[in-house]
């Protein structure tokens, strides 16, 4: 499948309720999937703050073992910057900042159990 068709397909998919499609043919297989990362960048009503939600159930750590992370309330953060990780089994799932800005509220502590979709940080976008 060429990029043009793929682009069209992606556009079309956004207009539907589909979450995932798989296309097979001519020895090719293409799967398209809407991201299931919990809804990010949601503004809180009546506030300019943006919540950063946990990507998984697990244990929250500011950094994987042996690494450090100095993020604290007031720290400036960049879009895509790792704010921490959620440890599930032997895996670490990154918690990424959805916006450029600064950390306004930290609603989690190191070592705390978190659920999927639970707000961990609130970012003041810049």
């Amino acid at each position: 499948m060429d990029i043009k068709t793929l682009g069209k397909l992606t556009k079309w998919m956004e207009t539907t309720d589909l979450e995932e499609i798989t296309w097979k043919g001519n020895g090719e297989k293409i799967s398209l999937k809407i991201s299931n990362y919990p809804q990010q960048g949601q503004m809180l009503p009546g506030s300019s703050l943006v919540a950063v939600n946990s990507p998984s159930i697990g244990v929250f750590r500011f950094a994987p073992a042996g690494k450090s992370n100095l993020v604290k309330e007031g720290s400036p953060v960049k879009k895509g910057q790792e704010l921490g990780v959620v440890e599930v089994g032997k895996e670490y799932k990154p918690v990424l900042s959805p916006e450029n800005g600064s950390v306004k509220i930290m609603s989690v502590e190191d070592g705390k159990t978190v659920e999927y979709g639970q707000p961990l940080f609130f970012i003041e976008p810049r």
Binding site: D17, E20, N36, S56, I57, G89, E115, Y116
Partner: protein, 460 residues
């Protein structure tokens, strides 16, 4: 071993609520896991604790072993009840639980593997002296197709070794179709299950689906319950189940129970399970498959034997003995019928419907049990199966049970989504069902001429 203090239910919907009820009666705390789409679901409300484990699609929540196990560890649950569907017959999950030091309430990973593989299960049945349909000893290689099919005699059924739920089954009536159908079956099985192995069986025309619930504990005690008849099915999906079967007498029942117990012992099975049989018109029964989980239709057995199968599962998983004797298990009273009420539009070929349940007014009164997770105002998520409720009737005999079913279905008032309530009424009014002479082709025959011609008949 003492009983558990806390059990996690790795499921949703009515079965999660059903399991929690027993846990509460046993004084065990329950933990629900749920997906983002199920925040407002009944099982979340009914549990003592609930944790969100992922987004709506099952693969990332209810089928996500790592997330389920993390939830068990983080909440301190000692055991996991898998319900039916999802991870309930997943050997890898049973093994992962054991590795994590969490008890899987179900059989061992080895048992699930052996009995979930149809050809292997068949071998166990043969070893245990349980009658099987004439068929190939194991999987058939391409070169042997014609010879093997001829030895069995047409019509022949092609089945996928790793299949289930009626998927991958093909019927061949003459040799000229064999090569094409077998190739299709094999490539379908490869695509669906990642395993293209197939085997052949004699096709039995107009069989009844009769199954036997059994339980065996780690001390080697085994019991079998009176048979369930699940012949009313559409495209291999059961609609109505009843117990006892109108086609089975006391002597046959004893033979069915004996076969189930033999199978349980031969497989060294520990847990609650079901062996499914096909029964021909002359009441010969043949082993079909084993379900290594609690089944949707388990309440009809509970109804007529006054038992709690979830409780037996928990006792067995905790290393205790089954709480009832073999003769007590087979001793029953009355008749029970279960109706699966689905959110499907039967005028549109049973297409699933979604939406908000605007009105949910349910039947009650004597002999009526309703297992459901639906409430008024509930928004049906798009991700999961379409079952809304199981209406389970008990009455002193079959005739009265049918009358009670009819009465209860008439009390069911649902709006906002389409349901299959009216289909059940049609079945109850059908002379073949009333006389107890249905086979697995009954639904197809009943629906074929009627649905396109007079859709208004359903609205009555």
């Amino acid at each position: 071993m003492s009983l558990f203090r806390k059990v996690l239910i790795a499921n949703r919907g009515e079965i999660a609520v059903r399991v929690m009820r027993t846990l509460r009666e046993m004084g065990i705390r329950s933990v629900a896991v749920y997906s983002e789409a199920d925040r407002a679901s009944m099982h979340v409300r009914e549990a003592d604790e609930a944790v969100c484990i992922g987004p709506g699609p099952s693969r990332e929540s209810y089928l996500n072993m790592q997330a389920v196990l993390a939830a068990a560890r983080l909440t301190g649950a000692e055991a996991v009840h898998p319900g039916y569907g999802f991870l309930s017959e997943n050997a890898e999950f049973s093994r992962a639980c054991a590795k994590a030091g969490i008890v899987f309430i179900g059989p061992s990973a080895d048992s699930i593997e052996q009995l979930g593989h149809k050809a292997m299960a068949r071998k166990i049945a043969v070893k245990g002296g349980v009658p099987v349909t004439p068929g190939t000893k194991g999987c058939v290689e391409k070169g042997a197709w014609v010879k093997e099919a001829a030895a069995i005699g047409y019509p022949v059924m092609i089945k996928a070794a790793a299949g289930g739920g009626g998927k991958g089954i093909r019927i061949v009536r003459e040799e000229s179709q064999l090569k094409h159908e077998a190739e299709m079956a094999s490539s379908e099985a490869q695509a669906a299950f990642g395993n293209g192995e197939i085997y052949f069986e004699k096709f039995i025309d107009c069989p009844r689906h009769v199954e036997v619930q059994f339980a065996r504990d780690s001390h080697g005690n085994a019991v079998a319950f009176p048979e369930r008849d699940c012949s009313v099915q559409r495209r291999h999906q059961k609609l109505i189940e009843e117990s006892p079967s109108p086609a089975v007498d006391k002597a046959l029942r004893a033979r069915l129970a004996e076969a189930a117990i033999k199978l349980a012992h031969t497989a060294q099975y520990v847990g609650v399970g079901t062996v499914e049989f096909l029964m021909d018109k002359d009441c010969n029964f043949y082993f079909m498959e084993v379900n290594t989980r609690l089944q949707v239709e388990h309440p009809v057995t509970e109804n007529i034997t006054r038992t709690d199968l979830v409780k037996e599962q928990i006792l067995i998983a905790a290393g205790e003995k089954i709480s009832i004797s073999p003769s007590r298990a087979l001793n029953f009273e009355g008749h029970s019928i279960e109706h699966r009420i689905n959110a499907e539009d039967f005028s549109r070929n049973f297409a699933p419907t979604v939406g908000r349940v605007e009105e949910w007014s349910v039947p009650g009164g004597p002999g009526v049990r309703l297992d459901t997770h639906i409430y008024q105002g509930y928004q049906l998520p798009i991700y999961y199966d379409s079952m809304l409720a199981k209406l389970i009737i008990w009455a002193p005999d079959r005739r009265q049970a049918i009358a009670r079913s009819r009465r209860a279905l008439g009390e069911f008032r649902v709006s906002g989504v389409s349901t299959t309530v009216d289909v059940h009424k049609l079945v109850l009014d059908h002379p073949d069902f009333v006389s107890g002479s249905v086979d697995t082709g009954f639904m197809a025959r009943m629906l074929e001429p009627k649905v396109p011609a007079e859709p208004a008949a359903a609205a009555k």
